[in-house]
Symmetry: C2
Subunit: 553 residues, 2 copies
């Protein structure tokens, strides 16, 4: 890639817009794990959350700013970003939101406040109940207030696609004048064609006063399968930042996939006027991490990171692409972290081979703590002993997911949260009793000691469960039967012990690789029955406990 | 839609290119079910298979031609195609392939032969070992031979993207002269940008002698997430046929999604110069059918047919889109067959309500046979009795998938296959003993009579299995234990009974809806251990037995 090209700013919103995927809720430890991986991947700007939404959100953003913001591991060297990741917090155009966002991100060496306000008449009239004049004034005041706290300010005109184009230019000019350094143009409903979206970016750049001094940013949704194409059209028309998520997770059909946009630029060095500083070899492990922690499964035929994406039946395709190397850069599986040798390790593999293999798979450096590495190695030795066919790459990914979730469940207790005054309209308060199942914040109250299941065809399933209750300091055992199978029986027995009503939201068991002695990855998502889903579209939903882990099949 | 617009020809290749997805193998009954649904959906041309590849492929294409080819159900009326579906068979440019393809499709009222030959120098030199001159001569002879059998001929220059553009125009002109009526331009490696692919279609249309008299067709792959955008660019530049698959299944990252292309045209009536005749309300049920039968799971954030695609958090988005109705046609969930009311039926619902609900969900008409409908109703009553929270739409979809697979497994014995001489180079012969587990073709030899499983935490899992052997006419029982869980124990017990080595390829249990008494959908994919995957990229892979069905959780 030529040094004359502009760097494309990769703004990752997996932890904010991605976390708004229905059913996805990440806890603080999970968010920090993902943030560390995104830092290592080379993401330029990380939107870590919406700090005013809840104390939990504030805490997560603040910890990411403090713990991940300074990290430089993987970010230095030729073709890398060579700067800390910018940690960004979202805020509505009200002083309290902006102050809270600033307080959450300010401890990161590089930080940004992302302020938004709708500019379409329908939003102004019915949602905000203000005039166009008042809208411009609020942009000026609120961007100005943000600027008084922080040099790096992004402004998004919400519902830009349906705003009057000339008013939109006026609003953007006011934002620039008040200090905005990045202007983000959302395709809110995901309905733009690439031609339309490219033309919109071009129009705004050409008709907004001061446009030359700021970065324009794309924010596309995939409702019609065009998020990547629309984002690339934005780049071709002058956008230099793209808002994206890992695996394209997000509301409805999701956001633009980070990995698709980057690999388009990567493989077409002559087609796009930008270069990137992402370490593409971490795509597969990053994708797996987000899949495991979010519970949003990636389909086999997903571009770049799907399980089948690199299953070429014949070598001739690759040969041919190689021949055309002047036009396209081929994607070799290893370029995106897909290792072709499936058999990873056997029972005689030692600690060093295990560590090397983890690094090959993208789990080097901060991907695992020392405690997690030790736990993973112990599990690996157990598995290698019992699995005659050898430990596969799929098993390794599953092992990593398992130690991540189990060492989190064991709970490094979080630092005490700073005082945060609650935001009003959009705050999603946790139910009063959200923590009653925890001994104290971050510490698990109940631990599974014993489980015994009897089931079959024509047999009434029964489950006997023993849980250790850390509060009462004793083991409790109960048994239950069920009409619909052993999972229901197990949940019923647990309910009898803990005395709370649990609703099963989602249950999935999948083999991690081939063979009848393969590991199974189990994802169970439950909620307290009384809990209602949150209504607000910007705030992340409330506390949905989630358990993922490894199980024998 | 205006009557002045050209109709876009939807060429569905779910059963041919889609079936080439790694791990996907559809049996004849499953292919016929999908073909019937695609007919009802309004597909214009169905590529039913590659008849020379194997006797099984020939038989499937022939039965589709005879049984599905004449169907008009759902295809008549305003805005519909009002013609039978064209049944198409793929053939290499050799006489035997072409004759076999013709024999397979000829009984359909409307039928097509799809002939392909590579035109890139690398293919000519290394794969076909012929000169450019010989290439042109073979196109002329083989398209001419096909034309002598059949009026409707499609020609694909394989590897068009890497062929010398002027030679490509020459080759296409030869094909037109020999009688080709459709020219299909594959983006073989999925690396084109929309600009490049659109320009290629435009160039070929403008520089090929006789181009005005034929239909140009797109065939795109999704390796960089741009299949839909590339296909739309082809349409904008004059293509009037699109080759697509349901859910975008296909090799590697898959083919272009039928539903995405159609909904782009549907929602942007002013942006594309074509109209379609697809019944979009069948998209969701069709997607589910292909997901169930192919085993290729659709991710929640898939455009149009993903489970989250229409989970709008707030109503304001839809309001706004409605306001812009002159620009976009909104997609309402019901437009693509997603019903918003989740609670379908209760225990007091009768046969009529059940049938109406099935029709609402897209399973009217030929989607279920009478036998399947009866079986579904019986299962529904059982389920409604045991499930206190009511039967949901998700349960209904699962019920349909279950009766489909179980009534197939019970085996309406297929009509005897006609004599087919085997194709040579690419035929994927079934292993000699492929049918030894069947009593006779289409009839199942072993049936599960009894299963008893004991497992838990710290317990060695055991499974006791009784199978009825239809050949020996008796029940056989055995027990096995396993290190890795009850699934392994169950498979081990089955292996002991049937005396064959089975490899577990894939195992997945997923809840079909919420609640701990929800149904679980189980997909297990197994293969005889000795079997090697097929090497050829065009021929579908061999016989991988597959079981999908409903289970209690």
């Amino acid at each position: 890639m030529s040094d004359q090209k502009d760097n494309l700013i990769i703004f990752d919103t997996t932890l904010r817009d991605g976390e708004q995927s229905p059913g996805v809720t990440l806890n603080t430890e999970e968010k920090i794990q993902i943030a560390r991986q995104l830092s290592r991947l080379g993401v330029n700007v990380l939107e870590a959350g919406f700090p005013v939404a809840s104390p939990g959100d504030f805490n997560a953003v603040q910890r990411i700013a403090r713990e991940v913001g300074p990290l430089m591991e993987g970010r230095t060297g030729d073709g890398r970003v060579n700067q800390e990741m910018v940690i960004c917090g979202l805020a509505r155009s009200v002083p309290h939101d902006i102050q809270t966002a600033y307080d959450a991100v300010k401890d990161a060496p590089r930080h940004r406040i992302h302020v938004f306000l709708a500019t379409s008449d329908i939003h102004l009239e019915f949602k905000l109940k203000i005039s166009r004049e008042q809208c411009l004034q609020r942009i000026s005041e609120m961007v100005g207030f943000a600027k008084s706290l922080c040099a790096d300010i992004e402004f998004s005109p919400e519902d830009a696609g349906r705003s009057d184009p000339s008013f939109l230019c006026e609003a953007l000019a006011v934002a620039i004048k008040a200090g905005a350094t990045t202007l983000n143009i959302p395709d809110t409903v995901g309905y733009n064609t690439p031609q339309e979206y490219g033309a919109l970016i071009k129009h705004l750049r050409e008709n907004t006063e001061g446009a030359d001094s700021v970065v324009f940013s794309t924010h596309c949704h995939n409702d019609l399968g065009l998020a990547t194409a629309n984002t690339l059209a934005g780049i071709s028309n002058g956008a230099r930042q793209v808002e994206v998520t890992i695996n394209g997770i997000g509301e409805r059909a999701g956001n633009t996939s980070l990995e698709e946009v980057v690999m388009n630029i990567h493989t077409h060095p002559h087609s796009y006027p930008v270069q990137h500083t992402i370490n593409t070899r971490l795509f597969f492990s990053t994708s797996r991490m987000v899949e495991d922690l979010s519970g949003m499964a990636v389909q086999a035929n997903k571009a770049i990171v799907g399980r089948n994406a690199f299953l070429h039946e014949s070598g001739i395709h690759q040969d041919g692409v190689l021949k055309n190397k002047q036009t396209y850069e081929i994607i070799r599986p290893e370029d995106v972290g897909v290792t072709t040798g499936n058999l990873a390790l056997g029972k005689h593999s030692g600690r060093h081979a295990f560590k090397t293999k983890l690094e090959d798979l993208g789990y080097g450096g901060p991907a695992l703590t020392d405690v997690q590495f030790q736990a993973a190695f112990v599990k690996f030795k157990d598995l290698a002993d019992s699995k005659k066919s050898g430990v596969t790459d799929g098993d390794m990914h599953a092992l990593v997911a398992d130690v991540r979730s189990s060492t989190m469940a064991a709970g490094s207790s979080a630092p005490p949260m700073e005082d945060v005054e609650r935001g009003s309209a959009t705050s999603t308060d946790l139910p009063e009793d959200a923590h009653e199942l925890q001994a104290e914040p971050g510490v698990v109250r109940f631990t599974l000691k014993h489980l015994q299941v009897f089931t079959g065809l024509g047999i009434t399933p029964t489950a006997t469960v023993t849980l250790h209750d850390a509060v009462k300091g004793k083991d409790i055992t109960d048994v239950a039967l069920a009409n619909n199978g052993p999972i229901e029986a197990t949940f019923s027995a647990i309910q009898r012990i803990i005395g709370a009503d649990i609703q099963l939201l989602n249950f999935n068991v999948a083999a991690t690789s081939e063979g009848q002695d393969t590991l199974g990855k189990v994802a169970v998502r439950i909620a307290r029955s009384a809990q209602e889903p949150t209504e607000n579209s910007l705030a992340p939903s409330g506390s949905v406990p989630k358990f993922t882990g490894l199980a024998t099949n």
